[in-house]
């Protein structure tokens, strides 16, 4: 089945099996391995990407063919012109990651979160990332990172 999607600003057309999940389409058809897979039940959020600019979706719960005609942003598209996105910078500054496996999904969830709520409270951040599991950090430094990014002067539109 043919599928046309725009990923990180680049248009792709591929012929794929209808049952292929979006996560594996990104990873295996497009070679964008920053999007990870950590469970089979839409629980962990390692696979979160942003759909149509503002919706955080779990790409393991969407068929690639459902993304036909849509735009997808993944972690690989965050850095622009050699400059880290303020969220990437903040995760680094605040030690918001350890093993790094949840980080891409966590970042993309936070992109959508800040788009809808540019100045979230701590509770709103914790609610906003509660669909993303992290086994290493205990979340506290991730919360601090989101706060730092929310306070950054220029929030690069993704």
């Amino acid at each position: 089945m043919k599928v046309s999607v725009t990923v990180n600003g680049t248009a792709y057309e591929r012929d794929i099996e209808p049952r292929m999940l979006l996560a594996y389409f990104l990873r295996e058809s497009l070679g964008l391995t920053g999007t990870h897979v950590g469970c089979d039940t839409s629980s962990c959020g390692c696979c979160v990407v942003v759909l149509d600019g503002d919706r955080a979706v779990k790409s393991c719960t969407m068929f690639a063919v459902q993304a036909d005609g849509h735009t997808i942003d993944t972690v690989e598209g965050l850095e622009q012109g050699g400059k880290l996105h303020p969220l990437q910078q903040a995760f680094w500054d605040q030690h918001g990651l350890q093993c790094g496996y949840c980080t891409p999904g966590m970042l993309m969830t936070c992109i959508a979160l800040l788009k809808h709520n540019p100045k979230p409270s701590e509770l709103e951040i914790r609610e906003g990332i509660s669909g993303n599991l992290c086994r290493c950090t205990g979340y506290q430094n991730i919360v601090k990172a989101v706060q730092q990014a929310a306070n950054a002067e220029e929030l690069v539109p993704s």
Partner: protein, 785 residues
């Protein structure tokens, strides 16, 4: 809030340097196992037993082999023919089936492997393997297993489910001391079965190259060298023909130490088919088949005088090891470091014993963010001390304070055979009490109790034991548990640093550079750290049990000092001074008594290649294999404050403070991050995480909707602080920290909830303290009154 005890000004150690590994991770450019794709690679899917105990009478491959894309179907009998049907377990007390042979011994046990051209084709093929089972009655409860009514392992000579008895200490003296004590407590305390569940599941790509005869295994491995040796011993392939590469690891927590059937089957498939074979488990496979943790049922007895001086401790444990004894413990220590169960207290005598049994559950018993059974031991003693305090009518902090090992008693020989290196438990505890405002909290609690509100304060003043370890006591497969470091300084003063460990998020690429930079006065940003490739890294035992800093950290410091000694010769030559007159001061070489005459390590490095001293070898490199003289003993005082809703059983952790003493801190930011993470896993064990089975042996927590790990919403806000009591024997005084918060915290939460419920006469509840369990206990207590 964080309060960090400041170290004197240092060049690199003690700095919260940002992590060198992060730039690739925040860009999605980490290289994890499943990111690797090799040409002509095939995929392996495994077939699992639906029954916890069943005879396998037939495996029909026909339909699977006819499925599109399927290249091979491998069964246990095929592996027996290849002499790989059974594998020895790490400490050598048992053998483990790779794929079920004749019998399945736990639900989800691996029964066959299907290799196909895509992950989907392999999964389709696995569905079509037709296995005929004759179900047998399962044994799920270790206390039932003990009765030997059904013998689970007919392959073993001894017709019993009992695996081993291990004991340490003085049984008779302890029994006598408890019998004579004014006050005694006895409680059965369970450390329930749980699972580390790192977010990246386990997997491998095995690539047998027919042209070179070399087997390359990309593998989610916390211990790549040990795995290389194990593969060589088991397959007979010479070790030089095996190359293990452990790429970026998405969390390990002990789960990536054992050898799993998937690794072996993928390797056999690659040998047979001559192409690379990838196996990546699903979350369900991870939770149901790979190394579980804990499952210790501990009968804890403590004796004390009326005044609250402890007299003796006895702990008798029934351990549920599942279908094989695959616990990743050192050979001489089948119950790991359980002997740390006397904790921070000066017991005149003690005795501990563990009896392990087979059940129809997955094997494991791995050290989940824990140094071999320390989490279980710390839970037992810290719960026991709380129960004793309540019986004595003493504040739990007061009971602890009056029984602490005093700082003058170090090095302290414990009654169960360890020599604690250092500690100042009173200082750590006083700091914690001050930071949290303990007295004010107790006043608030007294007032709330008058109003019938359930507020609880829980304390844990634990001692950890990490850094396995002295080779004379600890080995894996007979290999002494040393670790190693190799440092090469380039002509321009940058360098490459390699160790035998393999981090999984601990930040070694940063902290290892900091140690070397501190020792050599170099820039940590210009020291590249590499781990995980057995072709390039020196031999080491890997990263688990908080052993990296205590062991490899020591190797790094001592390899650096070897370099420094050689550099001193070159510096003397450069400054035209006698070597005896050259001193290392303020991170450079200078000539004693000649102000202003000095050379930096960077200058020496250049000279080492361009102008070496006449009698010295060119170059500037060193390797050091460090066998530590002792383990290290970090400690901490943790305090939890909870509010319990009597109507719903919900527990709100209002505050949690962790004051840790892990000796010298290399990077405070990373240490704090480790503590946050460990506390979150301790919280998870206390309130959420449990692997349960029904009476029929069905696994009840096969995915993240049933096996609950904390999200950001449940996770409390963590407060931290520290004290610094250096390890006297460690080259830089560090003790290790990754596991302290995990081993130290569950009992603080449970003690807090029990404190809240104590007015109702509730003494003990087993983890996890779910709402329904707490609510039922409150209901039961209210009915009684």
């Amino acid at each position: 809030m964080t309060t960090t005890e400041k170290l004197p000004d240092r060049h690199s150690i003690g700095q919260s340097m940002k992590r060198k590994e992060d730039p690739r991770f925040i860009r999605g450019k980490g290289r994890y196992l499943d990111d690797i794709v090799l040409p002509h690679m095939l995929y392996l899917a495994l077939v699992h037993s639906p029954y916890p105990h069943a005879r396998i009478t037939k495996i029909d491959k026909t339909a699977a082999l006819a499925s599109p894309g399927v290249k091979a179907v491998i069964t246990g009998e095929d592996l027996v023919a290849a002499k790989l049907g059974w594998l020895p377990t790490f400490h050598g007390f048992d053998n483990q089936m790779v794929l079920a042979i004749g019998k399945a011994l736990y639900q989800f046990q691996e029964v066959a492997g299907v290799v196909a051209t895509s992950r989907e084709a392999a999964a389709d093929g696995a569905e079509l393997v037709d296995v005929t089972y004759e179900p047998l009655p399962p044994v799920i409860d270790p206390y039932q297993s003990k009765l030997d009514k059904i013998i689970l392992r007919d392959d073993r000579e001894a017709k019993t489910n009992h695996i081993y008895h291990w004991e340490v200490g003085e049984r008779e003296k302890t029994d006598a001391a408890i019998a004579k004590s004014d006050v005694t407590i006895k409680e059965r305390i369970l450390s329930p079965r749980c699972h580390p569940a790192p977010l990246e599941p386990c997997g491998c790509i095995s690539d047998m190259n027919g042209a070179t005869g070399r087997l390359t295994i990309y593998m989610t491995s916390q211990a790549p060298h040990v795995h290389r040796t194990a593969f060589s011993l088991v397959t007979g392939i010479p070790e030089d023909k095996i190359h293990v590469i452990s790429p970026d690891i998405g969390g390990g927590f002990g789960n990536k130490v054992p050898v799993y059937p998937g690794y072996v089957v993928a390797t056999v498939a690659s040998v047979i088919l001559g192409v690379p074979v990838k196996w990546v488990e699903s979350r369900t496979e991870n939770l149901t088949t790979t190394g579980f943790a804990r499952d210790y049922h501990m009968d804890v007895e403590i004796g004390a005088t009326k005044a609250g001086k402890v007299t003796a401790l006895k702990v008798s444990t029934t351990a549920d090891h599942g279908a094989f004894d695959a616990a990743a413990d050192p050979r001489k220590y089948p119950a790991g470091m359980f002997g740390i169960v006397t904790g921070s207290y000066d017991f005149p005598t003690a005795f501990a014993e563990v009896d392990a049994y087979f059940t129809n559950k997955a094997p494991g018993g791995i050290a989940y963010r824990c140094s071999f059974r320390v989490t279980e031991a710390a839970f037992a003693i810290e719960r026991g001390m709380d129960i004793l305090a309540r019986k004595l009518g003493l504040d739990p902090v007061q009971l602890r304070m009056q029984n602490f090992i005093k700082k003058e008693q170090f090095p302290y020989p414990s009654p169960l055979g360890f020599t604690y290196d250092s500690g100042d438990y009173e200082k750590t505890t006083k700091k914690a009490l001050d930071l949290i405002g303990y007295d004010a909290l107790r006043k608030e609690q007294a007032e709330k109790r008058k109003r019938g509100e359930l507020m609880g304060i829980g304390v844990s003043t634990f001692t950890e034991i990490v850094g396995a370890g002295p080779g004379k006591h600890f080995d894996i497969l007979g290999i002494k548990m040393f670790d190693s470091a190799e440092i090469r300084i380039h002509p321009t003063g940058s360098g490459i640093v390699r160790t035998g460990t393999r981090g999984q998020g601990q930040g070694h690429e940063t902290t290892w550079a900091q140690i070397v930079a501190e020792e050599l006065g170099l820039d940590p940003q210009e020291l590249l750290v590499e781990e995980g490739d057995t072709d390039t890294a020196p031999y080491g035992l890997g990263t688990y049990a908080s052993r990296s800093t205590p062991v490899a950290g020591g190797a790094l410091a001592l390899a650096s000092r070897k370099i420094r000694e050689k550099a001193r010769k070159i510096a003397a030559h450069m400054m035209e001074a006698s070597e005896d007159d050259v001193e290392w001061k303020d991170y450079k070489f200078s000539v004693k008594g000649v102000p202003g005459k000095s050379v930096t390590m960077k200058e020496v490095a250049f000279a080492a290649y361009t102008n070496p001293a006449p009698d010295t070898e060119p170059g500037l490199e060193a390797t050091y294999y460090y066998d530590p003289p002792n383990l290290t003993f970090p400690n901490g005082t943790y305090i939890a404050v909870v509010d319990v809703d009597a109507d719903t059983g919900a527990v709100k952790v209002r505050r949690f403070l962790a004051v840790d003493d892990c000796g010298v801190v290399i990077n405070p930011m990373i240490v704090e991050g480790q503590i946050h993470g460990g506390l979150t896993e301790g919280f998870a064990m206390a309130f959420m995480q449990e692997i349960k089975f029904d009476e029929g042996g069905n696994h009840l927590n096969t995915n993240f909707t049933d096996y609950l790990v904390p999200t950001a919403l449940e996770t409390p806000h963590w407060e931290t602080g520290n004290t610094v009591t250096p390890s006297p024997h460690h080259p830089i005084g560090a003790k290790g920290v990754g596991e302290s918060p995990n081993a130290g915290s569950p009992q603080a939460f449970v003690n807090a909830v029990m404190d809240a419920l104590s007015p109702m006469g509730i003494t003990h509840l087993d983890m996890p303290l779910t709402r329904d369990k707490v609510w039922s206990a409150i209901q039961g207590a209210q009915k009684k009154t």
